[in-house]
Symmetry: C2
Subunit: 238 residues, 2 copies
């Protein structure tokens, strides 16, 4: 037998608890399938008390989404130390951790716009807010990558490589979630290789990208993911 | 001076004309900015007559979107003749033709879900219908690529390469539209190279992909886009 010690939570503490409970439920199932009743039960409070803190499911969903976005963005932070390939691989591992923790909610959000509706309709301001939040996380990823590349003002071709690779990482994670046929550890390494491959393709088209890539790769160790890739490609070409 | 010969159109002919006029307007500006009045003026008929054929702007938008989707899907069709790289390059040219013709409408659709709302809200059935249409075009692209690769039952890693490359092509086109800083002809070739590069990365991870890639590349000519890429990468590695 356990003794539950109940105490009154402060307003902000209760709000934060509800956001955490809701995020957990929204992550494990498609958010449209999660009811306020379930959230109330999981939080151990009454349904009216949920409404006391949040006017409706949409506002609770938006708060949960905001926390998830901050959580994901925080995982992109990586010390500016050591080889680039190894840094990117550590970020990819944390990205897949996040995707695994929030699978169904992540899929619903990235595939279909707002995952929570009011009376079968989504207000365009909610749609816009959701899209803006997704774009803000993409922007954090983009800024982090540029800072690790030691580039402040990215030329158009570098911007294209980085932004289109971010979208490749998103779609790779979504396809992985849809069946999990390939071990995620393989995809984490593959995405690091994909980044190098897309940058290399761009470098074959453009002298500035060529110079950038040569600068980036010259300090990579012989046993890092970038060297693995070059060895793999050489073996493939033979 | 021109003489306009007016004649009465049949119902289906008038509907098709209205869809064409609407698609042209929805393509050139963000669809939410296009009014039924403008569509009526462009079609040379009265506003009430537009409503006679379509109950509202949303149904006209959906009909225009369906026509655009069929148009895009038709551009993926390519004879099963000649080197693969050259086939893919011709499809990329037609894809960028489409993207250029429908720029603002394509961006609005791919970036923000439904581009037309009713009273500031989007019904979830309209959102779902739009997403299903986009997915159906992606599926046509996927099926076409597999048929050119002579693969009927794609292993998981090949499916991942093809589907994630399709999303890379979409994001590359969207980034190109947002400023047009890089000549589209360069991006058309680059996307063909990206496909080969992503397949090559996957082949360094997996024996089945390695075998498939070797089979695909053995008939590529020395002056095609795939050979260009290999030469470029060899020059880069030296």
């Amino acid at each position: 037998m356990t003794t539950v010690v109940r105490r009154r939570m402060g307003v902000e503490e209760r709000r934060q608890q509800l956001i955490g409970v809701a995020l957990d439920l929204f992550s494990r199932r498609s958010p449209d399938e999660v009811s306020i009743d379930e959230i109330a039960v999981a939080a151990g409070i009454s349904r009216p008390l949920v409404y006391h803190y949040f006017p409706g499911k949409l506002s609770l969903y938006e708060a949960a989404l905001k926390r998830a976005a901050e959580d994901l963005a925080s995982r992109f932070t990586e010390p500016h130390e050591g080889p680039l390939g190894a840094r990117l691989l550590r970020v990819m591992r944390r990205f897949f951790d996040f995707v695994e923790e929030h699978g169904p909610g992540f899929s619903a959000l990235m595939r279909g716009g707002p995952a929570v509706t009011v009376g079968g309709a989504a207000s365009m301001s909610a749609v816009s807010a959701t899209n803006a939040l997704i774009d803000s996380v993409r922007q954090v990823a983009y800024d982090q990558i540029l800072s690790h590349l030691d580039v402040t003002d990215a030329p158009a071709r570098l911007e294209l490589v980085v932004r289109s690779w971010i979208s490749l990482a998103e779609s790779t994670a979504l396809i992985w979630l849809d069946g999990r046929d390939i071990p995620r550890a393989e995809l984490e390494v593959q995405l690091v290789h994909d980044f190098a491959a897309l940058a290399a393709v761009s470098a074959t088209h453009d002298a500035e990208m060529n110079g950038l890539l040569r600068r980036l790769l010259k300090d990579e160790p012989g046993d890092g993911p970038f060297s693995d890739l070059v060895q793999g490609l050489v073996a493939l070409a033979s």
